[in-house]
Symmetry: C2
Subunit: 409 residues, 2 copies
C-alpha cells in the first residue's frame, strides 16, 4: 500500500489547485500517501485544451473523479475533489472556507508558452486566467486565514537568460556606493512566462502588505512520468505530454526516439535550462510545505531544478541511451519557432531546496532508459504529426487561430 509507512504529513490540510494536472496529480498522491489531508481544486480546463486542439496524453489517463476514487481504494486515503475555476470568486471563497487549508499549493494555471502565443486571444486568456486567479487566491488567504502558507509554482523562465549568474529570487546589488537586495530582474520570453512574472510581483507585494507566508517556486522543466504512487495502478497513471504545444523538451525527444522520428532541435540547440525529475517536483513541494516562512517574512523564493542541460545535451543523451536499446536515433535542427538566444551564458543557483533536504534524482542512464521503455510501451498511441512546433512567436497574430488550425497546419 503506497504511503502506508509514511505519516509525516500529520493531517496538514493542503489544497492543491491544479491537482488534476501533470505536476499536481503526482503531488496530490505523494502528499496523501504521506499523511497530509489533500483536497484537489481544478476546473479540468487542461483536459479541455487537449479536446480543443485534438491532442492527447501519451498515457491514457482516467477521469478526475475515477482516479481519485481509485486512489481511495488503493491507499485507503481520501482526497477531496472540487471541480471549479479559481477565477470564479464565489467558487474559490466557498471552497476555501469549507476546507480551511493550512497550505495552498497553486499549480492551477495555463502553463504552455506556445499555447499563450497562438494568437491575441490565447495571450489574453493566459494572462487573465493566471494573474487574476492568483489575485483571488491571495485575497482568500488574506481574508479567511492569513496564516495559510501559499506555495506557488513559478518558472525558471521568468529570469530569461541574463549574462550573469541567476540567484534564487533576489540579488544583492552595489550601485554608486550603496547596496540593496532586490527582486532579481525578470526577462520572460512568452506571454505565459510573463504571467508568472506578474504573479511573482503581485505575491511579493501581498507578502509585504498583508504579511501572508508565501513561497514562490521557480521550477525548471519537469521530465519523467513515474512516481511511486501514480504507478500503483493503471487508473492512477499520470499524463505525459509530447506534442508541440504542451510537450516539454526531454519528454518530446524520448517519444521521438521511441517512434523512430528524428529529434527536432530548435535552431542551434544551445538553449540551456534547468531540469528536474517529477519525483523531485513532489519532494520539493513537500519540503516547501514543511518549511513555511514566518508571517511578515519577505516572500521566499526557491529555484526548483536539479541540473542544467542545453537542448543539444538532451539530444545527445537520448541518442546514446536509445542506442543501448537498439534504437537508431537521428537529430535534425528545425527553424526555431521562438524568439530566444540560442547560444548564451547560463548559470542558475538551486541550492536552497537541497539545503532543506532535497536529494536529487539525476538524469542518468537509468532514468532515460525507463522513460524510453515507457514511450515504447505506449508507442501505438503516438501521433508524430503533433510533435512539430505548431506556434511561431513572430507570427502570433490577431487573426483568430482556431484550435485545430493552430496544430494541424
Amino acid at each position: 500500500v503506497p504511503g502506508a509507512a509514511h505519516t509525516n504529513g500529520g493531517g496538514t490540510r493542503v489544497m492543491i489547485i491544479g491537482g488534476d494536472g501533470y505536476c499536481g496529480w503526482a503531488t496530490a498522491l505523494h502528499l496523501s500517501a504521506r499523511g497530509y489531508n489533500v483536497q484537489i481544486v481544478d476546473n479540468l480546463v487542461r483536459r479541455n485544451y487537449d479536446l480543443q486542439l485534438g491532442l492527447d496524453t501519451l498515457t491514457p489517463i482516467a477521469s478526475a473523479h475515477d482516479r481519485v476514487r481509485k486512489w481511495g481504494e488503493v491507499s485507503g486515503k481520501h482526497i477531496d475533489l472540487q471541480v471549479g475555476d479559481i477565477c470564479d470568486w464565489e467558487f474559490l471563497s466557498q471552497t476555501f472556507q469549507a476546507f480551511k487549508p493550512d497550505a495552498v499549493v497553486h499549480f492551477g494555471e495555463q502553463r504552455s508558452a506556445p499555447y499563450s502565443m497562438i494568437d491575441r486571444q490565447h495571450a489574453v486568456y493566459t494572462q487573465s486566467n493566471n494573474v487574476l486567479g492568483t489575485i483571488n487566491v491571495l485575497y482568500a488567504i488574506k481574508e479567511f486565514n492569513p496564516d495559510c502558507h501559499m506555495v506557488k509554482l513559478g518558472t525558471m523562465g521568468e529570469y530569461g537568460t541574463p549574462n550573469i549568474d541567476i540567484e534564487e529570487g533576489y540579488i544583492t546589488i552595489t550601485h554608486n556606493g550603496r547596496t540593496d537586495t532586490l527582486p532579481y530582474p525578470k526577462q520572460a520570453g512568452s506571454f505565459y512566462h510573463l504571467s508568472k512574472v506578474h504573479d511573482s510581483h503581485n505575491m511579493h507585494f501581498a507578502a509585504r502588505a498583508w504579511k501572508i507566508p508565501i513561497t514562490d517556486l521557480n521550477q525548471g522543466v519537469v521530465y519523467g512520468v513515474r512516481t511511486e504512487e501514480t504507478m500503483a495502478d493503471r487508473a492512477l497513471i499520470n499524463r505525459y505530454d509530447y506534442d508541440g504545444i504542451f510537450g516539454t523538451a526531454l519528454n518530446r525527444f524520448v517519444v521521438q526516439a521511441a517512434v523512430g522520428h528524428p529529434l527536432t532541435v530548435y535552431g542551434k540547440g544551445g538553449q540551456t535550462r534547468g531540469f528536474l525529475d517529477i519525483r523531485d517536483t513532489v519532494r520539493c513541494i513537500q519540503i516547501a510545505i514543511d518549511n513555511p516562512p514566518a508571517r511578515g517574512e519577505q516572500m521566499r523564493v526557491f529555484n526548483q531544478f536539479t541540473e542544467q542541460f542545453s537542448v543539444n545535451d538532451l539530444a545527445r543523451i537520448v541518442t546514446e541511451e536509445g542506442k543501448k536499446l537498439g534504437l537508431d536515433v537521428e537529430t535534425i535542427s528545425i527553424p526555431n519557432p521562438r524568439v530566444e538566444a540560442e547560444e548564451h551564458y547560463y548559470n542558475a543557483k538551486c541550492s536552497k531546496l537541497q539545503e532543506l533536504g532535497l536529494v536529487p534524482h539525476l538524469l542518468q542512464g537509468s532514468m532515460i532508459d525507463s522513460l524510453l521503455e515507457f514511450a515504447l510501451e505506449y508507442k501505438e498511441r503516438v501521433r508524430p504529426e503533433l510533435i512539430k512546433p505548431a506556434v511561431d512567436w513572430k507570427k502570433s497574430g490577431t487573426a483568430v487561430a482556431t484550435m485545430s488550425a493552430a496544430v494541424a497546419k
Copy 2:
C-alpha cells in the same frame, strides 16, 4: 488662437488613448495645437468612477463631445473622438485600422492606487483593465502597423523605494565577475502600481519579439491644472482631482489650504517621490513622439519627472506660499492608509528627457501661487469630507465595498 504659431507636428497621426483624462486631455490639445493630427480614444470610465463614488473634479469640466467641439471652434483644428474600450478588441482593431496612427500615446488605464485597493473586485478590475488593454494595443500595432511608435505611461511607483539610486529603466549589474544590463528591479506598492510593472514586462517582451518601437514613460506625480490650451476657454478646462481616491499629494494639499483644512500628511511624511508640472507632461509626450526608438531597439525607458520632494517638503512649501496669500495653513499627521516606507533613501535619475530638450517648469512660488488662486476660485465646489483617505491597504478585503461605502464611511 492657440497653436497658430506652431506647426512642428507636421500632420503626424497620434492616437491618444485616455485622451479625456487629466494628462490625456492636456496632451491632446498641446499636440493638436502644434500640428499633430490627434484622435482621442476613451471609454469615459474615469467620469463613471466619479459618478459611482460620488466624487467630482474641482473644476467643472465639459462633456467629452463638447470640449472637442469647442476646441475646433477655438483653434480651427479637428480632434477625432472615438468613445470605446481598448479591452474590446473589435472596437480597438477597427478604430486603429481606420485612423492609421503613426504613434499611440497610451494613458488609458485605471490610475488610482487607492481605487485598486478598495477591495478584491477593484484589484482584479484594475489589473484586468490595464494589463489586458495594453496587450491589445501591442497586438494592434504588431498586426496593423509595426512601425507605429507606442508611447506608454508608466509610473515612478514601479520602482518602489530601493536603497540604491533609481536609474531610467535599466541597471548595469556586475555580479560574480560578469556584467549585464538588465531591467531595473521593481517593487510596486499597490495593485495599480503593479499593473504598470506588468505592462512594462509585457512591452519589453513585445519590443524584443516583434521589434515594435516602444517608449515607457515612468511618470512622477503630476501637479497643476493650467496649460496654455486648456485655459483658452472655460469649456476646455482640465479636471482637477483633490479627493482621497484620485487626488495626488500636491493637488490635495493646495485644496486643503484653500478651504482652511489642515494638510493631511500620511504618517511621518518622509515619503519622497518625483514630481512634475502638467505643462511638462505634455512636453515630455511630444518629445517622446518626436524621438522614436528604431525598430528592433530595446524598449526605451525615461523617468518622467523634474524634481523630488518628500510629503513634508510639499506641506512646508504650501504652508509658506499660503501665508503670502493670507491663508493660515496647518499640517497634521494622520495614520498612513498605505503600506510604505515613511523614511527612506530616494535618488532617482531623470536626465534623458532633458537631454532631448525638456526645460522643466520648477515648483517655485509662482506655480503654487497660481494653483492656490485657482483653488480659491473654485472653493465653493470643494467637499472637504472627500479629501480624507478612504481606502486602507491592510483592510482591502473580499467583502464588497460598495462604491459609496468606500468613500463615505
